[in-house]
């Protein structure tokens, strides 16, 4: 009798352990998640391979793009986020091809692909070690995803366990400008964000 009780208890214990393990095992995306370095605005955040600082994050209802004498207006069902900063490679030349706006609720918005490539956004550039370079990121997000948003930058979306920099923006979602114009410049920096502030 004692023996049977022992066996039953052992069986129950094993089942409980297995159940617990099944329900607490990490997600695949957690196991292969990038190595995150976090920071705030106007601070240089260092990852292993590159560094990034953001100094301006603005939000507007309408985005005007002026390139080569042509102007086009981009409307949205949400708002436009325009973020500027400076990026620098540390040891080798690299590209920064992945930029995302991570909302407070965990929804991701990638860099807009509506704006023509004549406006050089972050993925279009090459970053050399020791030569910091201005970066421009533009996102299209719903209005409720603005406040508490985080800019996430990585070399590529495809390399698991690579570097990733997350910078919490300071936008409140209240000071939304009616329109922002991005103008292509012929000299450095390659764009101007208007109206200047």
């Amino acid at each position: 009798m004692m023996h049977m009780l022992q066996s039953a208890l052992a069986l129950l214990f094993a089942a409980a352990v297995l159940y617990g393990m099944q329900h607490t095992r990490p997600l695949y995306s957690d196991i292969t998640s990038p190595i995150v370095s976090s920071g705030g605005m106007n601070k240089r955040v260092e990852a292993r391979a590159f560094a990034l600082s953001l100094d301006s994050a603005r939000v507007a209802r309408v985005l005007n793009v002026e390139t080569f004498g042509k102007s086009k207006t981009y409307t949205s069902s949400g708002v436009w986020g325009v973020v500027e900063g400076e990026a620098e490679a540390k040891f080798e030349t690299l590209g920064l091809t992945s930029g995302e706006w991570l909302s407070r609720t965990g929804v991701r918005y990638v860099l807009t692909d509506r704006v023509p490539a004549t406006i050089e956004m972050m993925p279009g550039d090459v970053y050399q070690p020791g030569l910091p370079r201005r970066v421009l990121l533009m996102f299209e997000v719903p209005e409720d995803a603005v406040a508490g948003g985080t800019v996430v930058v990585a070399r590529t979306k495809l390399l698991p366990l690579d570097d990733e920099i997350r910078i919490a923006t300071n936008v409140s979602g209240k000071d939304i400008e009616p329109a922002i114009t991005i103008r292509r410049n012929e000299e450095r920096p390659p764009w101007t964000v208007l109206p200047q502030r």
Binding site: S29, V107, R108, Y109, D113
Partner: protein, 193 residues
């Protein structure tokens, strides 16, 4: 302590037989159920144009269909083609941007398989890229209609559902997977002059 009883060869044989036959029966039943389901796919409900369809990952509202030679960009292609264009509203309900709508909205073409459609964003009158989560957009999907095939007065659009799996069976990674059609919509084809 109970005395351990030794099973006879006959008993063991029976146990093996029962377990084997049971397993065989289970696989036979499961296989024939799969065959039956594949042979009798569930009928997707017919939905009216203008009614929102929930596919799991998307909200899709089909509006109108028309045939023409000029895509929504306003620039006619260098080699004249007939385009079957379908206007619709979509909302991406997942947590990441996505642009694989051609697997969700398919045209039940009367004769042959059509090439992949081109998606135009109405806002820009230009090629659409990613559709961001929770941002409703109106778009036009344009299929190149094969030359020499008459365009029917009515087309049937099939809308396929997608389901979210937190852990897939291979890696344990999360993702969206195509499921059965959730709706079909009949759209009259307007013929532009």
């Amino acid at each position: 302590m109970t005395e351990l009883t030794r099973t006879t060869v006959r008993q063991r044989l029976y146990a093996f037989l029962i377990a084997g036959l049971g397993g065989l029966a289970a696989s036979a039943i499961s296989f024939s159920m799969t065959l039956y389901e594949a042979a009798h796919p569930p009928k997707a409900p017919v939905v009216q144009a203008g009614q929102q369809i929930d596919t799991g990952r998307w909200f899709v509202t089909l509006r109108t269909a028309r045939v023409g030679t000029v895509p929504p960009t306003g620039v006619p292609p260098s080699r004249p083609v007939q385009l079957l264009m379908v206007d619709m509203d979509v909302v991406n309900r997942s947590a990441t941007p996505n642009n694989v709508l051609h697997r969700v909205v398919t045209l039940s073409a009367p004769t042959q398989k059509l090439p992949m459609p081109t998606v135009y964003l109405d806002r820009d009158k230009y090629l659409a890229g990613y559709f961001n989560p929770n941002m409703p957009e109106r778009l036009t999907m344009a299929w190149e209609w094969p030359a020499g095939v008459p365009v029917p007065d009515k087309v049937t659009i099939t809308v396929t559902g997608q389901t979210y799996k937190l852990r897939d069976n291979l890696y344990g990674a999360s993702g969206w997977y195509d499921r059965d059609p959730v709706a079909t919509v009949d759209l009259p084809v307007e013929k532009a002059p």
